[in-house]
């Protein structure tokens, strides 16, 4: 049956902010859903609190609600918009949970709206472990032996039957949150205790351990006529025990015979039928015992998942798009395969290449976090690579991570080191595969490594072959074309070959080009070339035949931002996608290069051509070469994908590539401190006093000269990596030792730290002549908190119109002084009415999507047009920019950062400290938009952390420096009727100002003689509704840490800055007086 005529409008639920386990893959899937629905003439209503998504661009829906994804808000939207149906299977666990809540509240039946894609019963059968286990049994499958537990007593009793090690899995959490493997009782108590708390149903599953088994995932799709296809099989290189999101994964499965694969396939089909996923996609995970093939069904996700995005990119089969079509009535055979045009979607993609996905971690951001990989997902992003062999794909994937440590190298390894490597690899950590490779290079056998890691011998053999190839490359004597070709065939980069041959990457490249050893580009076509492909989705390989077709239209190459990481995430992909859309609309061919499978930019529908390639100089130069052979290339845009492409700009230019927009020289002018200082000087702009030190002694003398506290950091970094505020010589010395290890080639910057300043972020466009100011955002947290982690408000609420003018003038001066052609982001600080320039980034910033949403001006699109020579005045007349003036806000918009504290634990199992600082740690962001600050702040908090309490008990503990400024908000809470608790020092201070707090014992004071509870005990008892705890400097005290970690684990809102404290008063005041309003972005911008 084709389109269901009863569906005229659909509410799509998005996935909210980017968090670990739920990232921009759901923007990819949601964007596809919106596109499909609109193309069918269906009215699309969308809710998503994440402004950095393409799906929330006003043109992707008829009514876009950037609102917190709560049942209350969704109900309001349903009342107002009256959708015929709700589609919740493309927005991750967040959307699915929201849909279940709507069902349980009776909202859906009350307003006659039906859930499409999956029904609540099916979701329950898929996600409830006991029901799912029954289904597995019914279809003749096997589950791991397990027990469902709701209390610690049940847990301890169950483990007596199951034995250690035992796997703990909380129900209804995403990305394996709260799950882990316990080897003894203390570990069990800790992991399972947290699991009980994280699970919305206080339910955990204890399970027999199948650690070390082979792990597989199958992506399955079903339509309402019961046609079922397997889109992709994915094999985890890391055996059972490491969360699949943290594993290196390979598609298709490499080490199964057909007999075994078909067993998994049959089970998958039976399971999706029995669970009753009526239409759409799901993924099912399996463990296979390598000794006898015994299959255990692990779990299923009855929705589009992270793996679905990976499978879509890996196969060219767009799962989300097809799931949406199935949800509105189509069957698989009625849907055309976009790539072949002639064959239907009711088939199973077959691959003639190998796909490898590698995770990207951020442990360096959480120094005390446990680096062991377990069943709780910890990675923040991933890179995918495609090759015509496993080794080619693996080597490309590893260099896509942009981490030196990830790339295989071949140093001499001593026997002692070898022993250490073998013992280290027994515990999975970020660089285990590199340990494996080095150990094998040093002579370890496949058997030894298999015994230590349980990694399938086939993969180990592949690593061995790579090492053997390295040995051949390193042999003295002539480097023949045959050997070079073989090395490239195995995925070796020019840099790797160079280092093995004791020469430079450039030497190898020029030799390679002289010998005409260049990659060809093959097409991802879903069918292993059985049918002609019409979608130019390419990957490189050192093979014979090139499939890149000729072009006549001028093309612009856009470099993406690579794997998501803290500091460089979806916001940059957003800008790249915008550039591609704008340039395609303007008649150019756009060519996207990126290696992040989660993104919209790597959707083959986004650009005219897509190259799934690492963002290294070598790989990018080869694509440029191939495209230059294919037709006219105008140049490359490097300013939109964040630091990754920006870092390539100079080298690309040196290789004769045209950089569009801001030149590499201008980039250097802004990024190189000395040069930038001169620009400021010439323009008579102030910067905080600073110095550049290349030795520790020098740093100390600069710091003493400027006066502590100072902000220290290495140059050329993104996301504040390695940035710290230090208060004395000792901590400075400590920092220098660590920081200089991070980037040995770059000096350390020492800045005066503006203690009580307001920080301002500006995004602007400059065309060499005219400035367009996108927006002036004011940080809510004070200076010292990284801009990426700070909440901010647009328009700025405290600065005067004179200051606004001053900021505009300064922005224009910097843009022109640096020579920007396109976007620039500047951070200012205002202290004692003096404007300081903190830094300027001549590129798209993290806030571009937020500003674009708040003002209705697509800054990145305009920047792309400026890159190809359009002026701001032309863009004004084209309607891409307002006809006159700067970006204007509609309502008050607040951006709030989302932090991953609950994902990380120390090795002792306790939480990591949840303090904001100059180093960025947030993974994502939300936006609240409303007529007043109080309401928009409240929305931002609800969307990022959960509801703010309207009444109850607030606990306040202020550092000495914050006590004075904490009085006003404390009074505010008293006036709102909150009971105030405080630790002794804070309580005494508050009393001197007329407040009447109750004193509560610190954690370190222990329980009192009469059983008086400590604050942590009260929090654990659920007696505290809100925590205000401002930390003292860095190096947090034990008490503060105990309070903040307890808050995170108990999901109690915890505010760590005075500014946040004040904002909370306004937010709660609003919530007490009224309910949250809703308004679509389209109406805001109208």
């Amino acid at each position: 049956m084709p389109l269901d005529p009863s569906i005229k409008s659909v509410l799509v639920i998005g996935s909210g902010p980017i968090v670990i386990g739920q990232a921009c893959e759901f923007d990819y899937s949601g964007t596809q859903a919106c596109r499909v629905l609109r193309a069918e003439g269906i009215r699309v209503i969308l809710i998503n609190s994440n402004p950095a998504t393409i799906m929330t661009d006003p043109e992707f829906a008829d009514a876009t609600f950037i609102e917190p994804i709560t049942p209350e808000i969704i109900e309001k939207i349903i009342v107002q918009e009256k959708p015929d149906a709700v589609l919740a299977t493309l927005g991750g666990q967040t959307a699915l949970n929201a849909a279940i809540a709507l069902f349980e509240r009776g909202t859906l039946s009350k307003y006659g709206t039906r859930l499409i894609g999956a029904d609540v019963e099916a979701i329950h059968r898929g996600e409830n472990r006991e029901l799912f286990r029954e289904i597995v049994e019914k279809v003749g499958g096997e589950s791991a032996k397990s027990r469902i537990c709701h209390t610690m007593e049940q847990i301890i009793a169950a483990v007596a039957e199951l034995n250690y090690p035992v796997v703990v899995r909380p129900s209804f959490t995403m990305g394996g949150l709260g799950s882990g493997i316990a080897f003894d009782e203390p570990e069990l108590r800790q992991i399972a205790g947290a699991g009980l708390r994280h699970s919305p149903t206080s339910e955990v599953l204890l399970e027999e351990s199948i650690i070390g088994w082979k792990e597989y995932e199958l992506e399955v799709m079903r339509d309402h006529k019961d046609n079922v296809v397997i889109v992709c099989s994915i094999e985890n290189l890391d055996p059972m025990g490491v969360h699949t999101g943290d594993s290196i994964t390979v598609a298709p499965a490499m080490t199964l015979t057909d007999l075994e694969y078909q067993k998994l396939r049959d089970l998958s089909i039976e399971i999706i039928r029995e669970v009753g996923v009526e239409t759409g996609g799901c993924n099912i995970q399996y463990a296979v015992n390598p000794a006898n093939g015994r299959i255990i069904v692990i779990e299923m996700n009855p929705r589009v998942s992270r793996s679905s995005a990976l499978a879509s990119k890996a196969t060219g089969f767009p799962i989300a798009k097809i799931a949406t079509k199935l949800a509105i009535g189509y069957t698989l055979d009625e849907i055309q395969n976009d790539i072949t045009k002639v064959t239907p979607a009711s088939f199973e993609p077959t691959l003639d290449y190998v796909v490898v996905k590698v995770p990207r971690f951020a442990f360096e951001k959480f120094a005390d976090a446990d680096p062991r990989l377990t069943t709780t997902m910890k990675s923040v992003g991933e890179a995918m690579a495609i090759g015509r062999s496993f080794s080619e794909a693996l080597m490309k994937a590893l260099r896509s991570l942009e981490r030196k440590e990830a790339i295989f190298s071949w140093p001499a390894v001593s026997n002692v080191e070898l022993k250490d490597l073998i013992s280290a690899m027994k515990t999975p950590t970020e660089y285990r595969l590199q340990q494996v490779q080095k150990a094998m290079w040093a002579g370890a056998t496949i058997e030894e490594i298999h015994a230590a890691t349980k990694i399938d011998p086939w993969y180990l053999h592949q690593i061995k072959l790579i090492n053997e190839q390295a040995r051949l490359i390193a042999q003295p004597g002539e480097f023949t074309e045959r050997l070079l070709r073989k090395a490239k065939n195995d995925g070796f980069s020019d840099a790797q070959i160079g280092s093995l041959r004791n020469t430079s990457e450039e030497e190898i490249r020029s030799l390679r080009h002289r010998l005409s050893v260049r990659p060809v580009y093959k097409t991802v076509d879903t069918c292993a070339a059985e049918f002609e492909a019409f979608t130019p989705y390419f990957y490189s390989s050192y093979e014979e035949e090139n499939e890149v077709g000729l072009r006549t239209n001028p093309a612009v190459i856009i470099l993406g931002s690579g794997p998501n990481r803290i500091g460089q995430g979806i916001e940059f992909d957003y800008s790249c996608v915008h550039a591609s859309f704008a340039l395609r609309d303007a008649g150019y061919d756009t060519i996207m290069i990126n290696c992040n499978p989660e993104t919209v930019s790597t959707d083959y529908d986004t650009s005219s051509r897509l190259y799934f390639e690492p963002l290294t100089l070598e790989d990018v130069l080869e694509v440029i070469h191939a495209e230059t052979q294919a037709g006219p290339v105008l140049g490359v845009i490097t300013q939109l994908g964040g630091q990754t492409p920006l870092g390539l700009a100079a080298a690309l230019k040196a290789n004769g590539v045209t950089i569009l927009g801001t030149s590499p020289e201008a980039i250097n002018l802004a990024e190189e401190r000395g040069a930038f200082g001169k620009v400021l000087q010439e323009q008579s702009l102030k910067a905080p006093q600073f110095g550049m030190a290349s030795t520790q002694l020098e740093a100390q003398s600069i710091a003493q000269n400027i006066g502590y506290p100072v902000l220290v950091r290495p140059s050329f970094v993104l996301g504040g990596r390695g940035m710290e505020i230090v208060y004395d010589d000792d901590s400075l010395a400590g920092f220098i030792t660590r920081a200089t290890q991070i980037t040995p080639d770059h000096p350390v910057l020492v800045d005066r730290f503006l203690d009580n300043a307001i920080e301002i972020d500006v995004d602007a466009l400059y065309d060499g002549n005219e400035l367009f100011l996108g927006g002036i955002m004011e940080h809510i947290e004070e200076a010292g908190v990284h801009s990426g982690d700070s909440a901010c408000v647009l328009p700025s609420l405290t600065i005067t119109s004179d200051q606004r003018k001053e900021i505009r003038v300064a922005t224009e001066k910097i843009a022109s002084g640096v020579g920007v052609r396109g976007l620039i982001n500047i951070q200012f600080a205002i202290e004692h009415k003096v404007l300081y320039v903190l830094e300027a980034n001549p590129r798209a910033s993290r806030t571009v999507p937020f500003v674009s949403k708040a003002t209705g001006v697509a800054l990145a699109k305009a920047a792309a047009m400026i890159s190809v020579g359009k002026s701001i005045s032309q863009l004004r007349s084209l309607g891409m920019l307002p006809t006159k003036g700067d970006g204007e806000t509609h309502g008050i918009s607040v951006k709030e950062a989302v932090l991953p504290w609950n994902r990380f634990r120390r090795t002792d199992g306790r939480g990591v400290d949840a303090v904001l600082g100059p180093e960025m740690r947030s993974t994502g962001e939300v936006m609240g938009i409303a007529p007043t600050f109080g309401e928009s702040y409240a929305k931002s908090q609800i969307a990022s952390f959960g509801p703010l309490p309207k009444s109850g008990t607030v606990f306040i503990s202020l550092a000495d420096k914050d006590k004075a400024s904490g009085i006003e908000p404390s009074k505010g809470f008293a006036a709102l009727g909150f009971r105030i608790l405080a630790t002794d020092g804070t309580a005494q201070y508050l009393r001197t100002r007329g407040l009447t707090p109750t004193t509560v014992r610190k954690n370190s004071e222990g329980t009192g003689p009469l059983g008086e509870k400590t604050i942590v005990e009260m929090m654990n008892n659920g007696e505290i509704d809100l925590v205000i705890n401002t930390p003292v400097g860095r190096g947090t005290r034990e008490d503060g840490w105990a309070i903040r970690t307890a808050a995170i684990q108990r999901s109690i809102p915890c505010i760590t800055t005075i500014a946040g404290f004040s904002a909370a008063v306004q937010g709660i005041r609003f919530l007490q007086g009224s309910t949250l309003s809703i308004k679509s972005l389209q109406k805001w911008l109208a």
Partner: protein, 373 residues
Amino acid sequence: MTNAYLVFDDGRIFEGQSWAATGKTFGEAVFQTGMTGYQETLTDPSYRKQIVIMTAPHIGNTGVNKEDNESEKIWVAGFVVRNPSSLSSNWRSYQSLESELIEQEVIGIQGVDTRAITRHIRDRGAMRVGIFSDLNLSREEMVVEVRKIPAMAGSNLVEDVSTKKSYIVEPIGAKRFVIAALDLGIKKATPKALAERGVQVHVLPFNSTVEQILSIKPDGVFLSNGPGDPSTMGDVVETVRALLLEEIPIFGICFGHQILGRALGFETYKLAFGHRGINQPVMDKVSGKVEITAHNHGFAVQAPIDMEFSTVYGRGEVTHFCLNDGVVEGLALLERPAFSVQYHPEAAAGPHDAAYLFDRFVELMMKSKQVIA
């Protein structure tokens, strides 16, 4: 490892390295798109006189085991892979694929751009091809040799692969039916699938006479898959026509389907490059559902898809067709108990979506028995 060449009759040559046995070998070039199941492919008699190009780049990862062979030997004329694995990783594996190929003197080639080869076949259609390794021949000499071999169209290969003596595959559990399976190149998975349904399978040589077939008092007759051009099978077609008159339930697959088609009076024709893979979508016209199926056919039956047809055995219809290209994939008579599919319900390698067809055969035999009773 020495240089090896894959030489097409149109003069295109791909250079790679020798693998498995060396020397020279010839056949029809066909590509196989399955990502699993190389062992089943190699031992499928339908690949007689064909050089198989695997589109999946890594082949041999799981080695070779004792259970997954589809016949007693490897039948492919040559094997073309990109990256053969020298290490076998599977608990059932007893030796590496290369060792197995060398033991059975199967010539291979590795390190060639298999995707380019596949595109070449797709664009030019089926061609003759040769693998040359370890030989001192000029390019011209190789092409000349390839052009000497006969084309697949018009080839009668069934005699090469069919059993010389009949044998019996016993049912698993109680014996419910007895059938005669005409071995045109039968795969082991077929009698096994029938045996699992309580069928005793008498596998008979392809040239068995009607009398020989009837002598076992079969409840049904099965026409197996097999290699070559169905138009060369005049005698077998006549046998099937005689069986149709007997009203014995008949089930044919692949080559057997083409034989039934010819027996009904349809022509068979050679496809440009055939269907060989385990991901082919087939529409069941009766249920309106799609099956993902295993295919291995270079020929097809020419029959009207959109309407019933009439034959000397009564009315009939096309029951299945391929969604990729509209090729006829299933036939059934409406007034007599005979049906066939162009694909492989026994899978091996491939998905099990079409296994219900064996049940359908069993039902047909059941009904037929009831009628007689």
